[in-house]
Amino acid sequence: MSDSPQCEDYLIAALAGSVEVPVDDALVRRHVGDIRAMIYPMVLNDADADDLTQEVLLRVVRGIDRFRGEAQFSTWLYRITLNTVRNFLSRQNRRQVASDEALDDRADRRADLPEELAMAGELDGAIASALQSLSPTLRAAIVLTTLQGLGVREAARIEECSTATMYWRVHKARKLLERDLARHLK
């Protein structure tokens, strides 16, 4: 996620009251891709990912005055995102598998050959199912480290747990995924 000085200075200036920042397109556009990329592997549903991305960004903009500045902006953003997702998952409390709906522009990137399409669909389903079988806590650990590329220490800071605990979560999640995806890893 972006921690660009320009973005942070802009927001900090807003906190100081010297700049009025509406919910404008540039601010939202800067973060919408990263936030959605983080949410989708957690909820495994496009429509829910879109809704939650909106919820997170609106929360961020409304709650920016509660950003205390003692952590990096990205850490704060990650926390809001994960907390929003966890609230959603606990409300839902149901298992979802990635929907097969194709977004218009994603379909353009799919392989042309039918056989490759079928294989890609089977693999997609297997990965989504494997992620779905992880608890939200373990799923978050994989999302933060493997998909978002964060170090274990930073992931532990975001999740407010010890580094050792985060190492365990990542280890456990990877072992479960390797087991469920063994056929595709050979």
Partner: protein, 270 residues
């Protein structure tokens, strides 16, 4: 390594599932519109300057609050000094130090057994000279070159009024770094349905220390459930848990040390 393959698989999947720019633009536009519809409060409230809490004011209050909290913590600590268990103060038999000869023997044993079972061997436990193997042939190939660990778990106890501690359980676990170990600690109980469990996960940290997550479920010699996470200096035992009942006291110690992986013992010229 299967770990790299898993990473690549997940990242490729995530990239393929990501929506295109057009969709993100539509999503962003929808968010802005929704925000306006909900009359999202501007970040800068339209209030008289005197009514705003400035950043400087917030920082001053935060600093005062932190200072007050610190003062309270210091005062409480003076009345309740931190209880630090120092192993040198414990009876010698209660300290599960791992000797160099035990390290060498453990390394040799694990090496030889892993040659038989290949990458299916996950862990070994030695409880009172009864050895159990953790073998799982369903897993993907394991990195047999991963660092190896010896983790020792000791439960000692004594009845109230006694001075001598007795070793009630001593288990050595030989395993790989970052390997999940789930074993039945009681050597007299071969029943896999036994609720007793010793679950361990050790991780060699970048600074050379070893983090160990432990989950101990025992019904004998005492019913206990312990879940602890500790960071150990290699070779240095530490108490991780203690409990007192009406009749007795019990303590759980752990020690961990990396094992050498050399296939050959260096010859010493005489």
């Amino acid at each position: 390594m299967s770990g790299d393959k898993l990473d690549k698989l997940l990242k490729t999947w995530a990239a393929n599932r990501a929506p295109g720019e057009a969709h993100l633009d539509r999503l962003a536009a929808g968010i802005v519109e929704e925000g306006s519809r909900r009359s999202a409060t501007p970040l800068c409230r339209d209030e008289a300057p005197s009514a705003r809490t400035s950043m400087r004011g917030k920082l001053i209050y935060a600093t005062l609050g932190a200072a007050t909290a610190l003062a309270i913590v210091v005062a409480v600590s003076a009345f309740f000094p931190a209880q630090v268990e120092i192993c040198t103060g414990m009876p010698a038999e209660a300290v599960p130090a791992i000797s160099p000869s035990e390290v060498e023997a453990g390394a040799r044993l694990f090496r030889e057994v892993s040659q038989v079972f290949g990458d299916s061997l996950r862990w070994m436990t030695d409880t009172e000279n009864k050895v159990r193997l953790g073998v799982d042939s369903d897993f993907v190939a394991h990195d047999v070159n991963a660092p190896r660990l010896l983790i020792r778990v000791v439960v000692v106890g004594r009845n109230n009024g006694e001075s001598q501690w007795r070793t009630l359980m001593k288990t050595d676990v030989l395993t790989y770094d970052q390997e999940w170990v789930e074993a039945i600690p009681d050597p007299k109980s071969p029943d896999p349905k036994s609720p007793d469990r010793l679950i361990l996960w050790g991780n060699i940290l970048p600074d050379g220390n070893v983090a160990v997550d432990s989950s101990l479920r025992l019904s004998v010699p005492i019913r206990m459930q312990v879940d602890v996470t500790n960071v150990f200096t290699p070779g240095q035992p530490a108490e991780v848990f203690s409990i007192e009942t009406a009749d007795a006291q019990y303590r759980v110690f752990q020690a961990v040390t990396p094992l050498q992986q050399n296939r050959e013992t260096p010859c010493t010229e005489i």
